[in-house]
């Protein structure tokens, strides 16, 4: 390639060369696959809404849809309740200490979901750490079922989601002007009052963003319900897998994917509205 043909830096002649590879990759391996999903959801020897109509009448699908929302909402609530204290704690630390403690949040973020699932299998199982401890303290009858049911799914998902809550909540907390808290303190407000009237309300954009992100992630979750949940904890992604591989009903699988895509789209639109002041979502 002749150097001169590429032009000077900043000249627009380079743009096609710079942007062609990423465009090709996105179109061929992202947008075309997405359009295949859309296509299969409405095409079966001619255009048809058959797949959607039968889904609307399918008790299996409606149950799975309900389960998905149920699990997503519970896991999001638990993640917010556990993630917010972490964000608050991190926000109070001096920068160096915060960077160190941040590693404790980043490590689970970068840990394979399969490693975590295996670990929870050991922690929550019938012969797991918690049940061993319960038996040791309270006797043989004290064991509780924590795995292959809703509890297992919520624990596993909350663990996965907490970092996604901590990052935006921490950003919101760090962006607050500390003088506001100081002013309230000078005027005689106690710590709980300062928290409820200043810190918490001002951090709401971050909390809402974290909550919406958790909803998007948990509605589409695939691994955790299969490995830590029971039969009643099947979620939309598992149903898509079921129709794709077990019954080879690609139209129904694609229709469920389109519904999931629409739900995620609504949540992401809300997310970018909440974060409209930060520039990019």
């Amino acid at each position: 390639m002749a150097t001169a043909a590429m032009g000077r830096p900043g000249s627009k002649g380079d743009l096609p060369i710079l942007l062609a590879p990423v465009t090709a990759l996105l179109v061929l391996v992202f947008f075309v696959p997405l359009s295949f999903v859309l296509f299969y959801s409405v095409y079966d020897n001619g255009l048809t809404a058959k797949a959607f109509v039968s889904l609307a009448k399918s008790t299996l699908f409606l149950r799975v849809l309900g389960t998905s929302f149920d699990i997503a909402l519970s896991a999001t609530a638990v993640s917010l309740l556990l993630g917010y204290p972490i964000a608050l704690h991190l926000a109070r630390q001096p920068p160096r200490r915060r960077a160190l403690l941040m590693i404790l949040v980043l490590l689970p973020f970068w840990t394979s979901i399969l490693v975590k699932s295996f670990a929870f299998y050991i922690i929550l199982g019938n012969q797991g750490i918690i049940n061993q401890a319960l038996r040791w303290v309270f006797g043989e009858a004290a064991a509780v079922k924590l795995l292959f049911n809703r509890v297992g799914v919520i624990v596993g998902m909350s663990h996965y989601l907490i970092p996604f809550v901590v990052f935006p909540a921490l950003a919101s907390l760090l962006a607050q002007n500390p003088d506001l808290r100081r002013a309230a303190q000078i005027m005689g407000a106690g710590p709980v009052r300062i928290f409820l009237r200043i810190t918490l309300p001002l951090s709401m954009p971050g909390v809402i963003a974290g909550g919406l992100m958790s909803m998007v992630i948990s509605l589409g979750v695939f691994v955790t319900p299969t490995l830590l949940g029971g039969k009643a904890d099947m979620m939309m992604a598992n149903l898509i897998d079921f129709y794709t591989r077990d019954t080879l009903d690609w139209n129904t699988a694609a229709a469920i994917a389109v519904i999931l895509l629409a739900l995620s789209g609504i949540l992401i639109a809300m997310l970018s509205w909440v974060r409209r002041d930060d520039g990019v979502a």
């Binding site: 150097t3 590429m6 830096p9 743009l15 060369i17 710079l18 942007l19 990423v22 990759l25 996105l26 391996v29 992202f30 075309v32 696959p33 997405l34 359009s35 295949f36 999903v37 556990l82 204290p85 972490i86 608050l88 704690h89 960077a99 590693i103 980043l106 490590l107 689970p108 970068w110 840990t111 394979s112 979901i113 399969l114 490693v115 975590k116 699932s117 295996f118 670990a119 299998y121 050991i122 922690i123 750490i129 663990h159 303190q185 106690g190 710590p191 589409g220 695939f222 691994v223 490995l227 992604a237 897998d241 794709t244 699988a253 694609a254 994917a257 895509l261 992401i268 990019v280 979502a281």
Partner: protein, 270 residues
Amino acid sequence: MTNVDERLSLTTAARAWRRTGSTIAAFVYFFLLMPSLIVVPMSFGDKREIMFPPGTFSLTLFREYFFASTWMATTLQSLEVAGASAILSLVVGFLAAYALVRYDFPGKRLLNLVLLSPVLVPVIIVALGTYLYFSSIGITGTTPALIVAHSVHTTPFVVVTLMAGLRHVDPNLEKAAEIMGAGRIMVLRRVTLPLLMPAIFAGAMFAFLISFDEVVIAWFISNTSTQTLPVKMYSSIQWEVSPVIAAVSTLLTLLSLVVCLVSAAMQKPA
């Protein structure tokens, strides 16, 4: 320092409030760390039981993983897919990041958003679409199919990392080299890329680990001969729970720790 006089002015109530907060936080930190702490001792147990704490200390599981099983084959497959995805997404991602940081053009904001969309769309939908599309052109189950499918997923992370890196590389250095007569390729090789090395390294690590741990797309488009490590782990945990997974998990945790330290180091300059 604000910190000092803030501490001096703390009332008893404020101190109690803080202590409560710190206690809750300590509990959650422990919860976050627990899985990583559990798998390491587990991996030194033996083959017969999956119990914590393991009754014995042995390297049986590691030996099994490295020498006596199909685990190594799937690991090599994952290494190949993750390595190739990292390289592909670095090349594609660098060019895109360079355009987005150094140039102004119509549709830049839109492109920024579109570039991130593979991360925002639930991965199950991408996995299904890729499966349907690749089946129709007859390439499901091939290694190149896995590589490109993973690259779409890793490229956004590379682009974001490299864009942050490029903003710290002064464009005047590139201009100066140019004025002194260096060609575009020369400027890239001798100025831009060396200065960008930390971000390139971090981006490569992120892309590698994301692909190495990715399970949903691989579950849909790999077959028995191109099975990756996470897919094997997924089926194993689902059906028999081989204790070897403890050894695999310890090694994966080490890899995560390295990448985690890299990403923690990346956050500081910002």
